[in-house]
Subunit: 199 residues, 2 copies
């Protein structure tokens, strides 16, 4: 199995965490994003969006970090990471969508401006981030995990960009339940850190 | 079953299509979005994001149109709408994520500006939309459906906001394979139209 990866990418970190938590041997192919490795014809053939992560498992190629989590959980995990029950799957999907939309357009975009000078609307992203973190904090008040009563890929998908918020100059101090959830994730067997996370 | 719905919402239309295609009896609760029905305390208790659609099925409440599709397909559909195989599920998830991020931030946001005067960056959304529609058109060149060799919830999730592109002043004329896919979707048993779609 091969992961096309960038060390500073929160989306890649979701996959690095899942691979480690499931104990899956794999090769990492580092991609130089400022050098536009992700926009080469070879990489666009793997992923027309021109992004990382991309996972190759034998003949199969998967892009989108949420899709990769779905695959790894279903193929190599046990059912607790992504249950088959339709109501449970929907509960997980709500937070996968939240990772793709709200966490991306809020804290991840704010970080992309301040760390990578991406051309985005920083005040808008920071304002959205405050709403997004409040929703997560409210959800996690009185419960341990986002979707179900145990860790799922929803938690993995939502962790990196919320926990990296301060790199987008969004303070995490008000969000006590969120902070406790970060610590629960960081205590899971196989957790791996990245710069800015889990120090 | 109860659907909190807005007639002009493409996200709601995904759910209306799926309910109709699966032949599920349900009650529609129309929400007045300009009147902020979606931000009342009652609705925020159903969905902290303050959006529609929301589905209630007995004691279960689900928000996020993708999550509702996952639920309906798993609970009331047959396996063809959302297969259990991990590779197939990941293929579907790639396009659910695409519906949430690329189709939302591109054509849906452009339409939101021009139809509902939402405060967004129209030129940016229109430029992204052209990339997004090209990716879909390329994908559908030589194949009938987005994720697998038959219709899945990926097709339902990606249809409304791509097919409504011209309401965001994005021309669909160049995208021939996409246009043929619109017609295939509109020919599915149980398809329902909405203003601007399937006329």
């Amino acid at each position: 199995m091969k992961l096309y990866d960038a060390a500073a990418s929160g989306n890649c970190h979701k996959v690095r965490m899942m691979l480690s938590m499931l104990g899956i041997e794999h090769e990492v192919v580092p991609m130089n994003l400022p050098g536009m490795d992700q926009k080469t014809p070879q990489h666009l053939a793997r992923n027309p969006l021109g992004t990382v992560p991309v996972l190759e498992d034998g003949d199969l190629t998967i892009y989108d970090s949420q899709a990769i989590l779905v695959y790894l959980a279903g193929k190599y995990g046990n059912e607790s990471w992504l249950p088959a029950d339709p109501a449970d799957q929907a509960a997980v999907q709500q937070w996968l969508s939240f990772a793709v939309n709200e966490l991306w357009n809020g804290p991840a975009i704010a970080r992309a401006k301040l760390r990578f000078n991406r051309d985005v609307d920083l005040p808008r992203a920071q304002a959205l981030a405050a709403d997004v973190l409040t929703i997560m904090d409210d959800r996690l008040t009185g419960r341990d995990w986002l979707a179900l009563d145990h860790p799922t890929i929803a938690d993995i998908a939502c962790y990196p960009y919320s926990a990296l918020s301060e790199e987008g100059e969004i303070t995490l101090a008000p969000y006590k339940a969120l902070g406790a959830w970060f610590k629960r994730i960081e205590a899971l067997p196989g957790y791996v850190a990245m710069p800015g996370l889990g120090a």
